[in-house]
Amino acid sequence: MHDMPLDPTPGTTPSSPLITVEGVNKVYCSARGDVAALHGIDLSIADGEFVSILGPSGCGKSTLLKCIGGLEPVTQGHIRISGQEVLEPPDDCGFVFQRDLLLDWRSVLDNVLLPVELLHQDRAQWKDRALQLLDTLDIAAGADRYPWELSGGQRQRVAICRSLLLDPHLLLMDEPFGALDAITRDELNMELERIWEATTKTVVLITHSIAEAIFLSDRVVVMGKGPGRIVEIADINLPRPRSLEIRETPAFAAYQRQLRSIFEALGIMRRATA
């Protein structure tokens, strides 16, 4: 099932997993009957790892992320972060959603400072960090502007700053670049790579882009649907730091072929059962 790394390097094998997902099932009850969203999910994510969860829409990948982030309860099984069962959103965890979910009535700076405000901490102490983050993501000039004055890409940058403000150890990202145009997406992929490289964060990223998953990840978890399950976990052994040119290398193309063939196989499976 698990794809063996072509070139196993020491340190990539998880020594102490930060996140463990054990036998997780998730069933949604609706008027038209129960719908199984996740079935038999087992996964462990090491401290400091960048893991992408890749899959077609409707495969439950967002549900899995919400369960990990404590926003949805699991029906069966266990999810633990640092050994602690996840029952509510964990501390030290930042969320980035597909939509930026900025508050339109707050300036960019006030949006970024929202997490501090909700924790009743002193805003003034965090202002410098907020501005510095905005600077890192190239939107410091817009700190006093309002979300509706910004483009989609700029808005998502602000949302990323908000999630990074408290410097969380774990970053959960639910298709954060899905709604952006290709060029902005590339830019933000680069920036996310740089941020991850510069810190020691663990990132779980949901995406439906094969290239994005390979470019950013240490491991790619491929999910299939009906019900959502893990089909394959692929290690990505590309040198870091990575730049966009890496996408033109034969190694990158080989990973792309490998992941695409999994989806092709899934497609065949679906046709056979239909």
């Binding site: 969320f95 979910l101 929202l114």
Partner: protein
């Protein structure tokens, strides 16, 4: 060039003034040309002359109507918003109070007005009560709608940041509900105004509604028209007051944003 001026705020205001000026001229000319009896339709010049002759008398009555409307509306806002929060946060309140309110909404509230005169007398309080009652429904219903229509993902985002229920209400739900609340306020202020006038129709010694009914009793049509004119101006003033508050408090509101884009572009 000219079309862009007429699309601007000042242009539209001027447009309205010119239009109504022309209507008044047509009215004046018709009354004089066809020699219409003043008790049927007084000329606008006669109406304006009456207002100018005794401005303090008209202002005094306008002040009463405004006072009743304002207090009725303010009460409706306070009660309505508290009720709406209760309905959204408590299933019991939703099942009891809200159900009663929705059902009672079917009763034409104006029909209840004479009861308030019996209960509360003929001074300010029954008018305030009627104004409050008619304004309450749209405010409660629109506020409930606004508080409920918050994007569930927005709530997920707030929960992921460990926001408490109170913080979610105050920092997420309430601002999200404001556009909807203001839609209710605009309907509510107009209804409160109508409620106050209906109260004055039934039993009063003061107010523009009182002028209309008492002048009607003596076929003195001129003060009736003067009172109606002042009521129209007051109604406009109240409506635009809410619009102005909305533009100050909700600069981000989508409909305004579109408006801004069209005027800029």
């Amino acid at each position: 060039m000219t079309s862009s001026f007429w699309d601007s705020g000042a242009g539209r205001g001027l447009n309205t003034i010119i239009l109504f000026g022309l209507l008044l001229i047509v009215w004046e000319v018709c009354v004089r040309a066809f020699d219409i009896k003043p008790f049927l339709l007084p000329a606008p010049s006669v109406v304006f002359a009456d207002i100018i002759k005794r401005p303090t008398w008209y202002l005094y009555h306008a002040y009463y109507t405004l006072l009743e409307t304002f207090f009725g509306f303010a009460l409706a806002v306070c009660i309505g918003v508290v009720m709406a929060v209760g309905v959204v946060y408590s299933r019991i309140i939703e099942r009891t109070l809200y159900t009663i309110l929705i059902t009672l909404n079917a009763v034409p509230k104006i029909a209840v007005a004479p009861l308030f005169i019996i209960w509360l007398g003929t001074d300010l309080s029954p008018k305030i009560a009627i104004a409050m009652l008619v304004a309450l429904f749209p405010i409660v219903i629109d506020t409930v709608l606004g508080l409920r229509s918050v994007d569930p993902e927005m709530l997920d985002m707030a929960r992921s940041l460990k926001a408490s229920r109170l913080q979610i209400l105050w920092k997420i739900r309430a601002p999200c509900a404001l556009p909807s609340l203001f839609a209710g306020l605009k309907v509510g202020i107009s209804l409160a105004f109508i409620g106050a006038i209906v109260g004055e129709f039934i039993a009063a010694q003061n107010g523009l509604g009182f002028i209309v009914v008492s002048a009607q009793a003596t076929f003195d049509t001129t003060p009736m028209f003067a009172a109606i004119l002042l009521l129209a101006l007051l109604g406009l003033f109240l409506f635009y007051l809410i619009e102005f508050l909305e533009s100050v408090l909700l600069p981000w509101h989508v409909s305004r944003r579109r408006l801004m884009e069209t005027t800029h572009g």
